[in-house]
Every structure is written in structure tokens, then in C-alpha cells.
């Protein structure tokens, strides 16, 4: 994805810290570089958690503006990515909770229901849609765990750092997410096998 794909985790961390320092010294390109590296990840996670594209875009904007504002307080103790994900996930969960309270997310999901399942080359995309919808049925906290694990590919310890919980909690939440998805995704696994 980036020119830095082959670098070690330490190199990546140091490179990002250097960008943060440059930003704090007034280099306007530095923030842009950080943005370019994480824009798709932040947007994708936001989308998985709040479930709708326009909301995800608003949310991604808020998140990056907050990151820009809060960089002054960055402590150079954790990785930049951990710090960024923490902000992104907290924002997204809160926004999703707010939407949940209004009970509208289910309506939105129902409205996006395709009239009938496509066959042939479209079948894959249809399966994806159903998986996405199934994830949308989870609570915002569980959606976040799924996004961090399967979208961002974070390890359990990284997720634990982002969410500021123990690794045990991460695993039990992930397990709970899978169990909750079971009835919704069961049909799909069978189709897969067919």
C-alpha cells in the first residue's frame, strides 16, 4: 500500500513520530502525509461502525480534525497509529450509539435490502452485502472490534491498547461478536460450501 510496506514496526513508528514532530514544528505537509497514510483506514472503520457512507465521511472529517487539534498533546509514548485508532474508534462508537438510540440504523439496513439475490458474478458482492449487514446488526462496541481485527488487521495486544482494555477482554468481545454473527452468517457459510 505505501512505499513503507517493507519497513519494520519500529521503523514505521519512528517515521510516524518524525512526521508528528515536523507537524508540530509547522510543516504543513507533515499532517497531509499522516492523513494520506490513514485516510482509508479511518474511513473504512468509520463506515463499518456507523453503517452509512455520508455519516462515515462526516465522522472521518471530525476524527482527522480532532487528531490535528490534539497532536499538540501527543506524548511519543505509544505508536501514532494506536493513538489515532483510539480517537477514531471512540468517536465512531459514540456516534453509532447516538444513532442506535434513535433506532434508525435498523430502518436504514432494511431500506438497503436488495429485492432479490443476484446470481452469477454478482453473487460474491451479494454475499459481501449480507456479511456487512450482519456486522451492522452488532452493537457499536462489537462492530469496532470486528473492524479493528479484520479490517485493520491489528493484533490482540494492539487492539487492547487502542480500546484501553485487557487482552482477555478483547478476546472475549471478539468471541461474543462471532457468536452473535453466527445465526446471521450461517446461511452464507453453507452457500460458500455449495
Amino acid at each position: 500500500m505505501s512505499q513503507f510496506a517493507d519497513e519494520s514496526p519500529e521503523d514505521s513508528r519512528d517515521r510516524e513520530w518524525a512526521l508528528v514532530r515536523r507537524h508540530l514544528e509547522g510543516d504543513r505537509d507533515a499532517f497531509r502525509a499522516l492523513y494520506e497514510k490513514y485516510r482509508d483506514k479511518v474511513y473504512a472503520s468509520a463506515l463499518r461502525i456507523v453503517g452509512e457512507a455520508s455519516l462515515a465521511e462526516d465522522l472521518a472529517q471530525e476524527i482527522f480534525v480532532k487528531i490535528h487539534d490534539d497532536l499538540r498533546g501527543f506524548k511519543f509514548e505509544s505508536r501514532f497509529s494506536t493513538w489515532l485508532y483510539r480517537i477514531a474508534v471512540n468517536h465512531a462508537i459514540n456516534k453509532a450509539n447516538e444513532i442506535e438510540r434513535r433506532g434508525r440504523i435498523r430502518e436504514r439496513i432494511a431500506r438497503e435490502q436488495p429485492p432479490e439475490p443476484p446470481r452469477g458474478p454478482d453473487a460474491d458482492r451479494f454475499a459481501d452485502d449480507r456479511v456487512i449487514r450482519a456486522v451492522g446488526e452488532l452493537s457499536p462496541k462489537l462492530r469496532a472490534i470486528i473492524a479493528l481485527r479484520y479490517l485493520e488487521g491489528l493484533s490482540y495486544s494492539e487492539i487492547a491498547e487502542v480500546l484501553e482494555v485487557s487482552i482477555g477482554t478483547v478476546k472475549s468481545r471478539l468471541f461474543l461478536a462471532h457468536e452473535t454473527l453466527r445465526p446471521m452468517m450461517q446461511g452464507l457459510s453453507e452457500e460458500d460450501k455449495a
Binding site: G26, R32, Y35, R39, D40, V42, Y43, A44, L47, A53, E57, A60, Q61, F64, V65, H68, D69, A127, D128, V131, I132, V135, I146, R149, Y150, L151, Y156, K171, L174, F175, H178, L181, R182, M185, Q186, L188, S189, D192
Partner: protein, 159 residues
């Protein structure tokens, strides 16, 4: 191995993180417990599907929106900093303002001196005849988003 422990280890197994001894016990249980085996297959199947989901890309408009908002916030925060002004009533305080502005320009962390603000003299005209009518310019409570009653009132008065 009991089912409870199997479930606790399941995610680590899928991750390939179990040590050799635990792996033996784990596989043994998998072979002898249909329920746990089904759970493992379920999670492996889901992992496959979730990892294969498309990665949506952020829209191109996003950067522009972020830039605009940062610029707006910068403008709003800059209102709170003493600024170097020429002429007018600020001329008298220019020396102090220059000192503080220089500190900010260099990025120092000097403690911010309290900005005294505009040297305004307030004249209360509440008791003037006709003042109560003017007082209606204060937003009412009928509408939480006041519709600039000042304009309506001023224009109405000018009719």
C-alpha cells in the same frame, strides 16, 4: 480439556499462537467434541468472510473538508490572541501587544497575559421611553433557533 478452556483458547489457536503441549490437548478435544468443533469451524468460516470484505476508500472530497474546518477553527481561535493593531484605540496598548505577539510567533510558551479587551464604556438605556420595545430584539423562546428578530424588528420600524 474442558469445553470452557477450548473456547478460551480458540482464538489463539486460529491465530496459530498455541504452544506445542496445549496444541495436543486442544486437538484432542476438537476431535472428541462435536459442539466445540462446530464452533471452531464457524469462527474460521466467519474470519474468512470478514477478512475478504472490500476495503472502502475514503472519498476524494474528504481532505478539502478537513482543510476548510481546520482553517475555520484556526480563525476562531486566533480571535482569542492579542493581535498587533494599528491606529484606533489599540494604539495605546501596541507596545504590550508587540511583546506578546513576538512570543507567540516564535512558538514560545510564555504565560498568556489576560487580554483586557476593548475599552468600552457601557451606557444603560433600559429606562429610556421606547427602550422596552427595542428590548424585544432579544430572542424569544418560541423558536430555539432565533430567526434574527433584530432584522425583522428593525425593518418593521423602518417601514
Amino acid at each position: 480439556m474442558k469445553c470452557e478452556l477450548f473456547r478460551d483458547l480458540l482464538l489463539d489457536y486460529v491465530d496459530g499462537a498455541l504452544d506445542a503441549d496445549t496444541l495436543v490437548d486442544y486437538r484432542q478435544h476438537y476431535g472428541s467434541c462435536a459442539g466445540c468443533a462446530a464452533t471452531q469451524k464457524m469462527i474460521e468460516g466467519q474470519e474468512g468472510m470478514l477478512a475478504a470484505l472490500p476495503h472502502p476508500k475514503a472519498p476524494d472530497t474528504l481532505w478539502g473538508r478537513i482543510q476548510h474546518e481546520i482553517a475555520d477553527r484556526r480563525m476562531l481561535t486566533s480571535l482569542d490572541r492579542p493581535r498587533l493593531r494599528f491606529g484606533g484605540w489599540a494604539a495605546a496598548a501596541a507596545a504590550a501587544l508587540v511583546a506578546v505577539s513576538c512570543v507567540f510567533a516564535v512558538g514560545g510558551r510564555a504565560p498568556r497575559r489576560e487580554d483586557p479587551g476593548l475599552p468600552v464604556h457601557v451606557v444603560d438605556i433600559s429606562a429610556q421611553p421606547g427602550a422596552p420595545a427595542l428590548g424585544r430584539m432579544v430572542p424569544g423562546y418560541e423558536n430555539p433557533v432565533p430567526a434574527a428578530p433584530l432584522f425583522d424588528t428593525l425593518l418593521g420600524a423602518g417601514k
